[in-house]
Structure formats: C-alpha cells, structure tokens
C-alpha cells in the first residue's frame, strides 16, 4: 500500500495541498478527481519523489520513500517522453536498457494487442497510437503500483477500451493503480475508490460501489455538487 499521511505542499507562500491523507491499496484502482489538475499532479510527483512535501509522510509498503523503492512504481505521464525520431522498437530497447524490471514478454503482448510494430516511427503515429506506446512502455516495467496521469486524453474510444482492458489485467494481477482523468464515464464502473481534491484539500473520499448503494450517486454527481457549492459562495 502507498500511504500519504497529513501531506502539505507549499510553493512559496501558496498552498497547493493541505493535510492530505489517503492510501492506494494493491489490487484496487483509486481515482484522483478534482476540478483543477495542480493538486493531482503534485500528489503523483510527490509519490515519485520529483517534488517533496512541505510536511507529512509518504510510505510505500510501510517504508518511508527512498530511491530504491521507486522500482515498485511505474509512473506513466500524460505525454510520452521519447525522442520523435525513434521507432517503437528503439523506445522499447531504451527502456529495457534503463529498467532492471523490464518485462519483454509483456511488451510483446502489448505490441500485439495495440496493433503496434517495432518499426513504427514515433513521429508518424497518431495521437491515439502514441498514447498506446506510452502505456506499453510504462506497463512493461514490472512494478507493484502504477500511476496513470490522464491516460485517456485525446485517445479514441477503441484505444480507451484496450487501455482499460490492460488496466483490468493489472488489477487481476494484484497491482495498485492510481489514476487521474477528466474522462469520468470511463471510470464510473471501473475504479474502486475516488478521492476528490478541491482547493488543495480532500473534499470527499469514497468507495464507488458504496456511494451507489447509499446515495445512488456517481463521481460526476459529486463533482457537480462541489461545482454548485462553489458557485453559491
């Protein structure tokens, strides 16, 4: 489990996050939602050690974060960080050389699933296909946790379905997934839990099935409530 306890983040005098406590269990998908993206991306960056909390603690499987623990996490940013001149095969070779826990078998399976070819030039691929290369590179690292930042933006419906299908396999294998997205309808029936960040604080955190059972509401319904409250102020 990845656990954030009383996390606070200040950039200069500006509060970005205040007193955030949440956990990302294995075998479940946790969805970070909110009307603006600053807090969500900061949380992912902090888990990856790219920025540090002003106060509070982050642990992974009970250990306070240190560089060796990052092997347990695969962070898939919203845009691929690969040189345009590369082919898909070059990108795979680059990742394979860089990551100890690279899983070649999975990379080949995903190439096939996504109908990609090693000889494809990255700069010639469509946005959807580039999104799939990005997913392929991130998911072929054997990690216990996967952080997905806006995996569906600009991706066509069929590719979305394929990405969700891959996520599902990861859940079956017991991986913990943290995802941020604006495309909520993709996740209403798919995520286990939602954490709603508003003004840098956790506005609500809930299990989606419980929310449907007790209040008959979707994530979008809860977001609408936040929005109308904000307008009423």
């Amino acid at each position: 489990m990845i656990e954030l306890t009383n996390i606070t983040k200040k950039y200069g005098r500006k509060w970005v996050l205040k007193d955030i406590s949440m956990h990302i269990p294995k075998g479940e998908m946790t969805c970070l939602v909110g009307r603006n993206s600053v807090g969500k991306t900061t949380i992912m960056n902090m888990i990856m050690g790219l920025t540090h909390p002003t106060a509070g603690k982050i642990t992974i499987d009970g250990e306070e974060i240190h560089p060796a623990l990052y092997e347990k996490i695969s962070y898939i940013p919203d845009q691929m960080i690969m040189v345009n001149q590369m082919t898909v095969g070059d990108a795979i070779a680059f990742m394979k050389a860089f990551y100890r826990h690279w899983n070649d078998e999975r990379a080949s399976a995903l190439l096939y699933k996504f109908s990609l070819h090693r000889s494809d030039k990255i700069r010639k691929l469509s946005k959807g296909a580039r999104g799939k290369v990005n997913m392929l590179l991130g998911l072929s690292i054997d990690a216990d946790y996967i952080l997905l930042d806006e995996p569906f933006s600009g991706i066509d419906p069929i590719s979305r379905e394929q990405i969700l299908d891959v996520c599902m396999q990861q859940l079956v294998e017991g991986k913990g997934i943290l995802i941020t997205t604006h495309d909520l309808q993709e996740l209403e029936q798919f995520a286990d839990r939602a954490v709603l960040i508003e003004d840098g604080m956790i506005h609500r955190a809930f299990e989606l099935e419980d929310m449907r059972a007790t209040e008959g509401k979707t994530i979008l319904d809860i977001l609408r409530e936040v929005d109308s409250n904000a307008q009423g102020e």
Binding site: G27, M168, L171, V172, Q189, A191, E209, G216
Partner: protein, 128 residues
C-alpha cells in the same frame, strides 16, 4: 454469455447479480452450468474484477452458485433456491408494474387486456 448494459446509479455488483438471476430464471443458464471466471466476466462486462468478485461472493452466500476449490463456479442444482430466484424476480416485477399502474388508476380489465396484448407482441417478436 453476452455483454450487459449497466446503469450508473445502482451498485454494479447488484446489477451483475440481477443479470445472473434473470439468466437462471429464464433457463439460459441451467442448473449445474459453469459460469465464466471472474476475470472473463470482468473483461466481458468491462467492469472492475473486484466488483465481479463481490457479486460472485454474494451469489455464493445466497447459494445461487457454488465453487469447489479451483474449479469454475457452477449454477446451483438446489430446486428450492431456483424457485426462490424466479419468485423474487416475479414479485419485484409485478410490484413495480402494479405500483405504476395504481398511480394512474386504470381499471383491472383494461390492464389485463393490455398485458395480454403486450405479451403476444413480444412472443411474435421472439418467433421472428
């Protein structure tokens, strides 16, 4: 097994359970039939495997299905449970229908004639 159309406001595990109850009541799933694995069903319905797990656990608790160790889960052969499933679905459907009809105060003869018409209509569609 075909896919399923889910609504967004009821718990998914309940919708999955209900789907199975209907298949059992209408005979599409027979007593003793194997049902898809949790992973297969999650993929087929495009839902979270944990949700499927929960639906299967609830169905096991209700003795609708049973699972022996690592074998695929099977539909119960317990006659009493099967009768109860059908009874439950029928009760719920009639209650919902009658409540709606009651609100608009339709005479019994008219309701029965309409029901008969509609059933005939659906049967003709099925025959096609």
């Amino acid at each position: 097994m075909r896919g399923i159309t889910l609504n967004t406001r009821d718990p998914v595990y309940e919708q999955v359970m209900n789907h199975f109850k209907v298949l059992i009541a209408n005979g599409e799933l027979r007593p003793g039939d194997e049902i898809p694995s949790r992973r297969e069903l999650a993929r087929l319905f495009q839902i979270n495997p944990n949700t499927v797990q929960r639906a299967y656990k609830e169905m096991e608790d209700a003795q609708l299905i049973h699972t022996e160790r690592n074998y695929p889960s099977k539909v119960t052969t317990d006659e009493a449970v099967l009768i109860q499933v059908r009874e439950e679905l029928l009760h719920h459907a009639v209650e919902t229908f009658v409540d709606a009809i009651h609100l608009i105060q339709v005479p019994m003869e008219e309701v029965l004639a309409r029901v008969e018409n509609r059933i005939n209509e659906l049967e003709r569609e099925d025959d096609r």
